[in-house]
């Protein structure tokens, strides 16, 4: 099977989602808020993207949408769980969360965002040539 553009989009999305999950573990290891939804959604999203890499099937359109949505869920919860950290960093106070963790929230936002965009890109493209 020749590799299509969609394959690479799905690959990038899956790899970045895995990186995002690793960052999330670093984040929780440093006192960030644990949320099992982030973990479950990321793993499910990666599985969807991995399935897309297997090539064009009748259900790949739905699988692609599901992957993008799941990764968007992971992204959003990883950020909303850290809103207290971000609020503290912006206001220069230590009240809602841990300001020193805000950069990890931003990092997760960036990584997951690219992952989601790549997942959407995969939806627009064919998964095999």
């Amino acid at each position: 099977m020749k590799k299509s553009l969609g394959f690479y989009f799905a690959l990038v999305s899956a790899v970045l989602a895995a990186v995002g999950l690793i960052v999330f573990f670093v984040y929780t290891g440093n006192g960030g808020e644990m949320n099992t939804v982030v973990i479950a959604a990321t793993i499910a999203g990666i599985l969807c993207e991995a399935a897309l890499m297997m090539g064009e099937k009748s259900y790949t359109d739905y699988l692609g949408i599901a992957g993008a949505v799941l990764l968007a869920v992971a992204m959003t919860y990883s950020v909303t769980g850290g809103l207290g950290n971000i609020a503290d960093q912006f206001q220069g106070i230590v009240m809602f969360g841990k300001a020193e963790l805000a950069n990890l929230n931003f990092a997760m936002l960036g990584i997951y965002l690219v992952s989601v965009v790549a997942a959407i890109g995969a939806c627009f493209t064919k998964k095999s040539k």
């Binding site: 359109d61 869920v73 959003t76 919860y77 009240m95 963790l101 959407i120």
Partner: protein, 999 residues
Amino acid sequence: MWSGLTAIVAVLLVISIIGQGAALGYADVINNMLGIDPVIIVEKGEAGDTTYFKSSFGAFDDIKAQEAMLKASFEQNINEMREGAALLYNNGVLPLKTETRVSLFGHASVDSAYQSSSAGTKAADGGLNVINLRQALEGQNFVVNPTLWDHLKASTVTRNNGAAGWGGAGVSGSVANTEDPIGYYDTVKSSWANDYKDVAIVTFARQGAEGTDLKMQDVDDDGVTVMSSLALHQNEKDLLAMVRSEFDKVVVLLNSPNQMEVHEIIPYCDAILYIGFPGHQGFVGVAEILRGTVNPSGKLVDTYATSSLSAPATVNSGTQSPLYANVDHINATIGADEFAEYMSFQAEGIYIGYRYYETRYADYVMGKGNAKSNVGALAGASEWKYENEVQFPFGYGQSYTTFEQTLDKVEVGEDEITVTVTVKNTGSVAGKSVVQVYAQTPYGEYEIANKVEKSAIQLAGFDKTGMLEPNGTETVTVTVDKYLLASYDYTKEKGYILSEGDYYISIGDDCHDALNNILAAQGYTTANGMTANGNAAKSYKWHQEFDNEKYNLSPETGFEITNQFDDCDLNYWVAGSGVYLSRNDWAGTYPVAPTTVSATDAMLDILDGEWYEKAADAPSYAEIAANFGKDEGITLAMMKDVPYSDRATWLKFIYQLQPEDLPAATAESFTCPAVGNLSPAFKVGDGADSVGGSLPIKINVNGEEVTIPTTRYCSKPILTGTFNPDLMSGRGTAMGEDALWSKFMINYNMGVNLHRTPFGGRSFEYMSECPIMSYLAGELETVAMQKCGTLAGPKHAVGNDQEFYREGLSCFFNEQAFRETTLRAGEGSIRAGQAGGLMQSFSRFGLKWCSSSYAYNTTVLRNEWGWHGCIDTDAAPAFDAAAYVDDSGYKNHSVEVITAGTQEWCLDGAGAHGMAVLKQAKETDDGYLLQLLTEAAINWEYAISRGNIINGMSATAEFVEITPWWETAIEYMVIGSAVLTVACGAMLVYSKMGKKKEQ
């Protein structure tokens, strides 16, 4: 294509739905940031003049009035530095009358610490209205070496900034490698070789932060050698040595609210000026002092010890706070979210700051209590000796002139002592002189037998002269409240006593000088080991009989004052586990190693935080709820003059609500929500040296309309270091006006915690190591602020003396120490100043979170002090009422908190904690909990009715809630993306079916 489009809109739908929930949880923060007032006042009748609290500068829509107010605030800021900066050392080089061309060294010169990370307006280089050191010096006609300035600015090295690293427990606070290695200056030495050589000014900074204490065990710049963060690090030493070798005149500025180890600096310089943090424009005062246009008159409010680690409190607190010995068992049993890992046994008792050093000195002179022992002395010392241990005592500060103070008269009355002092300027330049009044109370057999500890000297009062010209004189009268001389006997009388024996009042240039004057009156001289002979004429003695009644009933309520904090003593839980420092045996009781214990099962039951049980005689929910929902036509404006004691009217007012409205009265945040239709949403100020936020009228700067931030004043120890009651009141007035213009109901400010050690991350916000200074200064600031129509909310009242693991730290103490230090520091603002509210601390008193302590919140604050302000937790954000019903973390035992007497939760704009209480009240049919919510609402509404929030409200005004635009926008986004998702999804299915047909 439809697959991709569906993915896009579905992703948008997910983000908007999840984001909506999160945004609503932070609605008050978002509204605050966007400047949205979610409630508007609608007038239904004839309003009349409803500006009950007016600015002394004019109308709130008059830009000239705003400008005048701002100008006055900067004048206050500068005056604080003019009178609060303390000249510690001067070999005659200051003032710099003729020197012009100067070189500035040290990163704090070009990147000064204006404040630490905490609440309030942030001043920074280049900020609107901020004057930096260079600009201030240029304002006094100094010319600053530009090459050196730019070189320092370009360095990649930055000074310590108090930022906490990862780890969550505020474990940073290191000063290592915060100055460049000396080689960095090689390329710019030519810039001062022949010019800019009149004087070198070196600035050193130390900066903790909210959540970050300075490290007691820091590393040197080599990354290996362990040392105090308040000691000079190698790069700093190298810098000083280089500057000393190249300049004839070297002046050092201490840009630090924490007491640096200055003995290391003195050999390399000609003068040292302590400047703390300057806020917006305090550097103007610094430059004026250097130039000599202002004569320094500030005094230290902390002891500068030779070793910052010699204070007994350092053994068990700050970054040396020990873990419980069985911390793993604790976490496994009650959960890590109870934050019960660290403990701090306050072995020092009452001996904080000068109370330790001076008392041990007195005993050294009198040959008592094994004071000479080397236990607690500098490393390697054969005996403890005051002159080796202390560099500059509390109250110390030089002037460019000399003063002579004469103790004219002391009148001891039933409740007050009046001290009259005549001050004469005996020098050649005009200046102000501080009159410091100290006291000594007896430490005799009764005290020894019953563990009543006594400081050999304690601040009792102070005042400051006006500007005295050479040979000018002024007579100053200081009144001392006798209550401040009483001791708490926690073992025998279990109440306040006035000890039997000789009492002394003394004046002095600092606390050590005043003690020497008392020792002189007692017949001691340098032959007994005194550092200098005292002047007995500056002290006064009288005899007092033992009195165990005078202060044992509350004058406000008649409530009997007796032990409430026995269970905060570690020995209550584990017998013999803790030894308190006693002047009866310095050698045997000075703490030499941290005290830690394994938490017993009984202790775990309390640490767990869940103990409330519904009382058998509790009324039913329905019984209490039946009172609500009765519209009496009473508005908030009608309540503004109704006294708190008129319970019937206040209940009628509150019963107009529904029970479901009550949680809003427990919700304190940057924007507090409306409470039913009784009171509107409003904002609060937060910060000890700045209320935060912006002034209402925009101004034009370089063609742009900008808002003006409220003023950041000097760090608190500079304010208290003025020893000037007028400036302390002035701070209250200035911040009261800031808040009045900003429409803040209350300022959570004051800073009533102690500098228990020199390492406190928030020493810049807290007044002093001396609880009496905090008491007296706090009262002055509170009263002045509240006259402006802005309530004062002392924080963190009380017991937040460290930042390291401040959340949940178990502080163990005896009741004498607690009442005479921690509690006394807050008592001035709360009880004497009648503050409108307070914010508690994160600490545990013994095993209970401060907010869950009935002894503190109800017995002391309400019953003993008769105080009826609103009691607010420290930050306890909550966004989901359902998550806070049960045992889910040490701040989330909402029912235990409200039953202790706490009534509001900080940063809980959604009222989630109150909702949890209401839910439990309903589910368990507990009318008592509903009664407590009612009481909380009374205190909250009473506070609101006493401040500027009622400006603009007539008796006929109504409140109308509006939906902020951003909530509407998110709502539309959710609906829009949902519709598009369905549509795109349908098109996807349709197109796939079409394709299938084609195939």
